[in-house]
Amino acid sequence: MKSEARIAYLFAMPWILGFLTFLLYPVLASFFYSFTDFSVLRPPRFIGLENYKEMVQDEVFWMTIRNTFTYVVAAVPLSATVAILLAMLLNTKVKGLAFYRTLFYVPSLVPMVALGILWLWIFNGEHGLLNMSLEKLGMSNPPNWLGDPAWSKVTLVMIAMWGSGNAMVIYLAGLQDIPQSLYEAADLDGARLAAKTRHVTLPMLSPVILFNVIMGMIGALQVFAVPYVMFPNGAPARSTYFFTTYLFDNAFRFQRMGYASAMGWVLFLITLTLTFVALRMSERQVHYDRS
């Protein structure tokens, strides 16, 4: 028995080291740094709560919070809705499921930078595919997607919806796991599609939805690459300057690593709080199979 444990520790060793070096140490160190004034050139100097106090008064910080929350609130539910609807459409025993599934999935394979560049071209005001199509459909004055602060976030949310294929695959697998007998019982009761969706499909899918929405939220709170490529410096009018972009700029452009660490911890706390709230709020809505 003892030798099994010894061998087990050897097997687990890469991750024990990796966990200590690339997770535990950075988490603790950034907590410490968040109370210091620290640039790469100078060693960290303890300044107590100064970084956090400064944050409260930092208008740019609050602006990135607003931008990020607006994005999360729009992008997460909308892409979840798209993903669930697509999955439900594909779960109708329609022919060519694998083909459609591939088509919906492929966009979420596209590397972020290539994706940003592709969308710059699609949303291009003069020669872009989108406005060209809108004009053909009779819209005389299509929005300036990239240059108008009122539309720039809409642009990013639409891109997020375009990438919901990954979640769709997960939802589809969840739908296929729902026992057919439940639908047959509902049929006997004379339930229509809407009733079946509400009383069978969504409750049975709810654990998957909860998991995906939480993961989607964690990801969306860290939105970075696509806006970074598409909207230099958060243009237009800083409407796409997000939390992680500002954190990144603080760390690597302004050499304010202490402040960036404090921001990192604020993001961590926001993530934990929102996850906790989501779990709590869903307690009564989410149906877990007890078997």
């Binding site: 990796g18 590397p111 660490s261």
Partner: protein
């Protein structure tokens, strides 16, 4: 019955329209990539080019064309491929070994450590960014590829989770029988479990490949010398310098960056879909 047929037809029509919406940006990218430059700028753009300029691809990716400062594409492709392959190798080896310990062996602290491991997936990357950078700077690795691939050899929570779930589905009797035959723990792992785990290992390899090939923030933090750029970084640099002019060449370059990922996906589609499905369901 008639109504059922009608609704299936509706589903098909909706699906066709939706898949057109999902695919058209990519098609538009490819058709732009083979257009002459004038046709990307006309007031009434056409869907298909008047002549197919396949030439745009080599043009966009050839090293050192002076007029426009094209990205040294082949060099960046080599850099990206090297980092990606090292990450795939590291992640397959380390995660298999670690997941085996979590799934098949008994040791004090195992379950608590596994719970902690799962919880680490909640830690946002920006929290880790500054100290990790400090660590690699202290090691003198900033500017090299090492910060991008060395961590892959120390496992990742997500892949450990995925492989552990798989290892647990293999009956314990197999290990016990091997043990009675005199196999050591190491032999059981290499000769009995690993061959059975090939599909799950392939999923880990695929996810790592995609993740590394697409990574943008990592290379941006650690690489500053133009010669060491990865494709993502090079594409971004090219776009920020020359963006908005040569759309056809830019789209050609983007196509070439996307292509390997799509090709890999098509060959491993089934595995991929299964991997994603299980990853999301048993969380």
């Amino acid at each position: 019955m008639k109504q059922k047929k009608f609704s299936l037809a509706t589903v098909h029509i909706v699906l066709i329209v939706l898949s057109l919406i999902f695919v058209s940006p990519l098609l538009w990218m490819v058709t732009t990539a083979i257009k002459p430059i004038e046709e990307t700028m006309t007031a009434t753009p056409t869907l298909l080019p008047s002549k197919f300029l396949w030439d745009n691809f080599p043009k966009a990716v050839t090293y050192g064309s002076k007029e426009l400062g094209y990205i040294p594409f082949l060099l960046y492709a080599r850099n990206t491929l090297m980092v990606t392959l090292l990450c795939v190798a590291g992640s397959v080896c380390s995660n298999a070994v670690v997941a085996y310990a979590f799934a098949r062996l008994r040791w004090p602290g195992r379950d608590a450590f596994f719970a902690v491991t799962l919880a680490t997936m909640m830690v946002p990357f920006p929290v880790l960014m500054v100290p990790t950078f400090g660590l690699f700077k202290w090691l003198g690795w900033v500017g090299s590829f090492r910060p991008l691939w060395v961590p892959a050899f120390f496992g990742s929570a997500f892949s450990i989770f995925l492989l552990r779930q798989f290892f647990r589905t293999i009956p314990m009797e197999l290990s016990e029988a091997a043990k009675i035959d005199g196999c050591s723990e190491v032999r059981i792992f290499t000769d009995v479990l690993l061959p059975l785990a090939k599909p799950a290992l392939a999923v880990v390899a695929l996810f790592t490949f995609m993740g590394t090939w697409n990574d943008f923030m990592g290379p941006m933090i650690y690489l500053s010398d133009q010669e060491t750029f990865t494709l993502s970084l090079g594409l971004q640099a090219y776009q920020s310098q020359h963006g908005g002019t040569q759309w056809n060449l830019l789209m050609a370059a983007a196509t070439v960056v996307i292509l390997p990922v799509i090709v890999v996906f098509f060959f491993a589609q089934k595995m991929f879909i299964q991997g994603i499905a299980t990853s999301g369901l048993k969380g």
